[in-house]
């Protein structure tokens, strides 16, 4: 009945007309521009003004970037080169400063021949947080470990690490690969011993100090295993903690020294005051992030607890810390604590700062998590009770997974804020990347007078790290999306 022209019957067609392209003004970028940029007089005006502003900015900034000089020995040399190349009035960036001093921005005064140690610690950091970030997902862990392996292979070679370090790292990564493909759950043990490895890599000294210190945690675990059925979770943990503290206070040092005198293995010790730049920011930031999350969870639970004393202590801690600016806490760490400690005790400044930054962050995390807890419907608590779960099991299996999921954006933005706040340690004389290192670079007569370049360099690195954290939190939110909204 139908023919190819579709006009079998004079007054009705029974075939579809092939679809036509939409008119030019209703499709593609033309449509987008018309709707978003030029929809009415006000928008047209604003668009034109914005384009002019952007053009003006680019005209000032782009030549500055394009005239950038990478090979020079001082700022005045940079200026000469720029004047030669682009004319006497041209301005340009002097990236030669970054080229000469990048190592101080990254490592501070860490001994140059030991750069492979923080580099290795940094690479392993990703291997250690992998099992936490991508719990048990082989298809995510394998590429992650591959990237870590490639990164370490290149950077360790560049930093001319000793052959033994290469060999040990290779063995370690092979074990991690094997575990990821056979028993990914076990990888969490690597995460648990990572702090000890990092401590050893960064500060050096005898290997037995961190090993013996980790035994304290073994003591906690063993005591807990042996006694929790009779004494309950809280008392068993507390007992373990007391024993561990006794171990750390009285036996730890002696045992470590004794073993070290028999089997001396170690790396050259690096003092805390040689830390600086991003090494310092990462050390403070990562440690504080890692410890403030569990501490924040406990504080949030404490604040909602029915037990009067625990509640009062938690509220007091949270409100005190939140009520005080971070700088005050840093000054407390740097100045006040010295007066309380016995004379000639040398309690490491970085350690003091890490402790107070952790407290600061924990107080904020606690409130974010409390928000997550408050958002859970009451029925979830009652359901957990109805299942016959005790308090800790209910928290672990029912409440926390949901509350933490709700709190993810808040937690991650606290962490991003914390990481950026590490630059405030400049005010207590630590060598942070933004102010501390920039100041010493500018104090060099060769680079005095340089202004934007260090800020841009440091800002770019901060952006990469913080943007990475933010993207991960978005990924996590998508993956954990279980609701039916």
């Amino acid at each position: 009945m139908a023919n190819p022209t579709g006009d079998s019957i004079a007054f009705a067609r029974d075939t579809m007309i092939p679809p036509r392209e939409p008119p030019a003004r209703e499709s593609g970028y033309v449509k987008w521009m018309r709707e978003n940029l030029f929809s009415n007089a006000l928008n047209i005006t604003l668009t034109v003004i914005s384009i002019l502003i952007i053009f003006g900015l680019l005209r000032a900034v782009v030549p500055w970037f394009l005239n950038g000089v990478w090979n020079a020995g001082s700022l005045s040399e940079c200026r000469t080169i720029i004047a030669e190349r682009a004319g006497p009035d041209a301005s340009g960036a002097c990236w030669a400063m970054v080229r000469e001093r990048w190592n101080q921005f990254l490592f501070g005064f860490f001994p140059m021949d030991q750069y492979w140690r923080p580099t290795l610690a940094f690479g392993l950091l990703f291997a250690a947080i992998g099992p936490v970030l991508f719990a048990g997902q082989k298809e995510k862990l394998n590429p992650l470990f591959l990237v870590v392996t490639l990164f370490l292979a290149v950077t360790l070679w560049l930093a001319s690490a000793p052959a033994l370090a290469f060999a040990l790292t290779a063995v370690l990564l092979l074990v991690l690969f094997a575990l990821a493909n056979t028993a990914p759950g076990r990888l969490i043990w690597f995460t648990a011993i990572y702090p000890a490895i990092t401590f050893f890599l960064l500060w050096g000294g005898s290997i037995w100090a961190p090993v013996v210190a980790m035994l304290g945690f073994v003591i906690i675990a063993v005591t807990y295993r042996l006694t929790f059925e009779r004494l309950g979770v809280v008392v068993a943990t507390a007992l373990g903690a007391v024993l561990a503290v006794l171990w750390w206070l009285f036996l730890d040092h002696g045992v470590a020294q004794a073993i070290d005198s028999v089997i001396p293995i170690g790396l050259p010790a690096v003092a805390s005051d040689q830390f600086g730049g991003f090494l310092l920011a990462m050390t403070i930031g990562v440690t504080a992030i890692a410890f403030s999350l569990p501490m924040g969870i406990l504080l949030a639970l404490g604040r909602r607890s029915d037990m009067f004393l625990i509640k009062v202590l938690s509220v007091g801690f949270i409100e005190f810390i939140r009520g005080v600016p971070l700088i005050t806490l840093l000054f407390t760490a740097s100045l006040l604590l010295q007066y309380f400690l016995p004379p000639n005790t040398n309690f490491d400044l970085i350690l003091r700062v890490i402790i107070l930054v952790t407290f600061f962050s924990a107080a904020y995390i606690a409130e974010v998590i409390r928000g997550g807890l408050a958002a859970l419907p009451r029925g979830q608590y009652e359901a957990a009770d109805a299942l016959g779960l005790d308090y800790w099991r209910a928290q672990r299996l029912v409440i926390m997974p949901q509350a933490l999921k709700i709190a993810i954006p808040g937690i991650v933005s606290s962490f991003i804020g914390l990481f950026k706040d590490t630059t405030l340690v400049a005010f207590v004389g630590l060598l942070d990347p933004l102010k501390g290192v920039t100041q010493i670079v500018r104090a060099d007569i060769n680079w005095k007078g340089i202004y934007w370049e260090p800020y841009i360099f440091v800002g770019a690195i901060f952006f990469v790290i913080c943007f990475g954290m933010s993207r991960y939190s978005m990924y996590l939110e998508r993956r954990l999306k279980r609701d039916h909204r």
Partner: protein
């Protein structure tokens, strides 16, 4: 109650005894290292180079003391201190000596319980302006906007001086030297004021130094020097006389290059005493005979230190001025070694 008071008294007494018996020379020797509080970055005075080694005019004093006490000018641990943390760090014993371009003032000497043992640099506050402003004297700055670092003695000096001269100014607050330099170049302020040594360094690193002038008026006295705690006078003596040994060495023409030669050939009794040839002056301070000789040999005399770090042959190009030897019309004057 009685008992706790007793114990408290005992604790206080032992704490006081601890302070009274402080023997920093012994502590430093036992530690094998001098802990020196320093500026983390002040051009020419103290700054780490690309390899992380501190260099500078103030740093040289630390090195000289280490050479005198420990025999090796490299046995120094530098603790970078900010303007806020420097005095607490010294008072709490975190550093042995503070050489951080600190101005000797009455209240710091008395109220804060420190001793300024010497003045290694006589500085003063000055002004830098653009040449095309057409100003040749600070007294013509009536109504000018002036870039000034907040929270420093320079801020107070500025207010005092303008009040005394009965002229007005508008302050533009800046955080650090880099910003001051930047604002002056950008024209955000007519004049930038800070210590004259800092102005000279800033001007030297401008893209167009010929377009800036430093006005002749110096409106304040800024005697900068090494500081030690009250309570250990012997340690103060060590730092003071190590410094004076460097000053005296310049006066007598002893340099790091010729110190050995002079020690073996000189007939001048003062030089012989200084270099430990005849008398054993070091033993009065708990040091050995050759303390001064080592300091001079390893660090150089005052003039050498000045020339190497901030002198006219360096880009900073400071003239000796007040810091010349007293024989040259300056204020650097070492008491006799006798």
């Amino acid at each position: 109650m009685k008992k706790s008071v007793f114990i408290g008294t005992l604790a206080l007494a032992s704490a006081l005894a601890g302070v009274a018996a402080a023997d920093t020379v012994a502590d430093v020797k036992a530690r094998g290292q001098l802990i020196c509080g320093t500026n983390p970055g002040l051009t020419g005075f103290a700054a780490p180079d690309a390899n992380g080694n501190y260099q500078g005019f103030d740093v040289a004093i630390c090195k000289a003391v280490a050479a005198a006490v420990l025999g090796d000018s490299n046995k120094v641990k530098y603790v970078p201190l900010t303007g806020e943390t420097r005095f607490t760090a010294l008072a709490s014993g975190e550093v042995d000596v503070l050489v951080r371009n600190s101005t000797w003032t009455f209240s710091r000497d008395t109220d804060l319980k420190f001793d300024f043992v010497a003045v290694n640099y006589y500085d003063g506050q000055g002004f830098m302006v653009k040449k095309d402003l057409g100003v040749t004297s600070a007294k013509e700055l009536d109504g000018a906007t002036i870039c000034i670092q907040t929270g420093t003695t320079t801020e107070l000096n500025l207010a005092d001086w303008f009040k005394a001269n009965n002229i007005a100014y508008t302050p533009v607050n800046i955080a650090d030297d880099a910003e001051g330099q930047r604002q002056l170049v950008a024209g955000a302020c007519d004049a930038y004021t800070t210590d004259a040594s800092g102005l000279a360094a800033a001007r030297a690193t401008m893209a167009d130094p010929q377009n800036y002038i430093i006005l002749p008026e110096i409106i304040s006295k800024e005697p900068l020097g090494p500081v030690v705690r009250h309570g250990d006078n012997n340690w103060g003596d060590v730092v003071r006389w190590t410094y004076y040994a460097l000053v005296a060495a310049e006066e007598y023409g002893i340099t790091s290059a010729n110190v050995d030669e002079i020690a073996s050939t000189t007939q001048n009794p003062e030089i012989k005493r200084l270099l430990g040839m005849d008398a054993d002056l070091g033993s009065f301070m708990g040091l050995d005979k050759e303390w001064a000789k080592r300091a001079i040999k390893q660090v150089g005399n005052y003039g050498e230190i000045f020339a190497a770090n901030i002198g006219e042959s360096t880009p900073i190009g400071l003239a000796r001025g007040l810091n010349a030897q007293w024989t040259q019309g300056g204020l650097q004057y070492a008491p006799p070694f006798r």
